[in-house]
């Protein structure tokens, strides 16, 4: 594990000097915290009469969940749920950005061959590179989530909302699905990085993995998808299978000979 730790340390000391990486690690979480909490804050001054009109635009399944809540609290709940889905983007986008720069960067600087010539195993190298992307992504996502939960506790009009963001469905989503999405993002980054030479291209292609999440966000907003426990559990299972398949292909592609002779 010493070598894995050293790879992670080296990756961090290198990639975090890159402004684009730093931007995605710092700016995106800030955006995802500040915007919803700002809206929640601004909604505190609204009166139910103003909000009631808006309620008719919300998906029917959702309004059914608002039993016992005032119109304003229900709107806040709707907003919170939308942004919680967006929190799943962070564990995908951040590792994808880091992994793209770390792997394509090695290709650009011709440093992969000297690294592969050392007595490091392919698994150690791959693990180091993957964890260097996954750890900060999950760290930032979880930290942002807790800040968001804290902010919701302060700004939500109904205490039930603060409890809702800590419901099992969200805990599974943020900690389980988030982690699995991170792994998927890194695997896809590794595979794409083997075919391109520009970190920006690798990053752009790898972020396509976020499309299903954006579709989920849109689907939920328009009432086409019900983000319930069943969906979360099926998604977790599906991602587990997907991660296993992606990991297999990423490891196959990350062989010394393949890297040296085919990664151009």
């Amino acid at each position: 594990m010493d070598k894995v730790r050293e790879i992670i340390r080296k990756e961090w000391s290198e990639v975090f000097k890159n402004r684009i990486v730093l931007f995605s690690v710092i700016f995106m979480p800030l955006l995802f915290i500040v915007i919803p909490l700002g809206i929640l804050y601004s909604m505190r001054g609204s009166v139910d009469a103003e909000i009631t009109g808006m309620m008719s635009d919300m998906p029917e399944q959702f309004t059914a969940m608002c039993e016992g809540l005032s119109a304003t609290a229900c709107s806040q709940y709707f907003l919170i749920l939308q942004f919680l889905v967006l929190f799943l983007l962070m564990p995908v986008i951040i590792p994808v950005t880091i992994a793209s720069y770390s792997i394509v960067g090695e290709k650009a600087t011709n440093t992969l061959e000297p690294v592969l010539a050392t007595p490091i195993t392919t698994l150690e190298l791959l693990l180091g590179k993957a964890l260097a992307g996954v750890i900060p992504a999950l760290g930032v996502t979880w930290l942002s989530y807790f800040v968001f939960v804290g902010g919701t506790r302060i700004l939500a009009l109904d205490p039930a909302l603060a409890k809702a963001v800590l419901a099992p469905i969200w805990l599974i989503s943020i900690f389980g699905i988030g982690s699995l999405l991170s792994v998927a993002g890194v695997c896809i980054s590794i595979m794409i990085s083997s075919r391109v030479n520009d970190p920006r291209v690798a990053e752009q292609l790898s972020t396509l993995v976020a499309i299903p999440l954006i579709a989920l966000f849109m689907g939920q907003s328009f009432g086409l998808v019900q983000f319930d426990l069943t969906l979360v559990l099926w998604t977790t299972f599906g991602l587990l299978v997907l991660d296993a398949i992606l990991l297999y292909f990423a490891i196959q592609l990350f062989q010394r000979e393949t890297i040296l002779t085919r990664w151009k």
Binding site: E14, E113, P114, A117, I120, R256
Partner: protein
């Protein structure tokens, strides 16, 4: 495997699809030798080094490095060899010291700060150890890459184009460092296009183009291909002098060029006295006697062109 032999290959081959990069290469390299791998671009030099560094697997054949078999004991091989790759990739954002300490960790070096300091000082980079490698000149980067290859005190050192792209001053520093390493008794394998450098540094060379064309010391190869050529600088060269010495069986060829008589033979040290005596007896006035040294480039081009002709013929 003989104890003194540190690298041995038997019928080692490597193909990439249809392309045969290395064809049945058989070599024995004793410990402490500086060995040159010469050949045109695409001849398979880098592929051979990569196989012997356990970076890529041979398609067929066997090889042992430092007593470990390629393909079976790759971890031990990687611990036993150091490699200067053709392009000395370094992490530009990191300092020279950080670059080396990172690789030292991967090579499982025990005294990392000590070894890093030792090689940074040895290669004159200690004062600039905190600077980002991105600010270094090509020569400094090359020296740093050599330091990286030596951090774990490898038994075998592979240098792929060690002076490629360097200015004459930096090339000289690198060459002198290689000579120092040779004096320490390290086994060094050099891949190079710089034939003068190979001539100066290598105990033996292998010329190959996928398959082995020749393997010997530069001096022996010259002699095998061209014999040794002695030049007699005369006051006045005459045809009769050439005829007079042609009587000796050991004279392979004579040639008159201006006032010089060029004679090809095998053992000039023993045969020259007879020639001098004969020439003087026939009235030749000899200004001085010297040896025409064929360059390694002549050897190389003759071998490579002969193979090309054979392939086309």
């Amino acid at each position: 495997m003989n104890n003194d032999i540190i690298i041995e290959t038997k019928e080692l081959s490597k193909s990439f699809g249809e392309n045969l990069a290395v064809d049945r290469l058989s070599l024995e390299i004793p410990a402490g030798e500086v060995f040159g791998l010469l050949g045109p671009n695409g001849a398979g030099k880098t592929t051979t080094i990569r196989m012997l560094s356990a970076l890529i697997a041979p398609t067929s054949g066997e090889a042992w490095v430092a007593g470990y078999q390629v393909g079976e004991e790759d971890y031990q091989i990687r611990k036993s060899v150091g490699i200067l790759t053709e392009t000395p990739g370094m992490y530009n954002q990191l300092s020279a010291e950080r670059n080396l300490s990172f690789f030292a960790k991967l090579y499982e070096v025990e005294d990392i700060p000590g070894q890093v300091e030792r090689y940074l000082r040895m290669l004159g980079l200690w004062e600039r150890r905190h600077e980002a490698v991105g600010t270094f000149s090509k020569g400094m980067r090359q020296k740093l890459a050599i330091a990286r290859a030596l951090l774990h005190e490898p038994k075998v050192l592979y240098l792929d184009e060690p002076t490629s792209g360097l200015d004459p001053e930096a090339s000289k520093i690198v060459r002198e460092f290689i000579i120092d390493l040779r004096q320490q008794g390290r086994t060094i394998i050099i891949c190079t296009h710089n034939l003068a450098e190979a001539d100066r540094l290598c105990d033996r060379i292998a010329v190959f183009r996928s398959s082995l064309l020749a393997l010997d010391s530069p001096t022996n190869l010259r002699q095998q291909l061209f014999g040794r050529r002695v030049v007699f600088h005369l006051v006045e060269a005459q045809e009769k002098f050439a005829q007079a010495i042609s009587q000796y069986d050991f004279v392979k060829q004579t040639e008159l060029i201006d006032n010089k008589l060029v004679v090809t033979l095998n053992e000039p040290d023993q045969q020259n006295p007879f020639l001098v005596k004969t020439l003087v007896e026939h009235g030749a006035e000899i200004r001085f006697v010297g040896e025409v040294r064929r360059s390694l480039e002549d050897v190389y081009l003759t071998l490579v062109n002969t193979q090309k002709e054979n392939n086309h013929g």
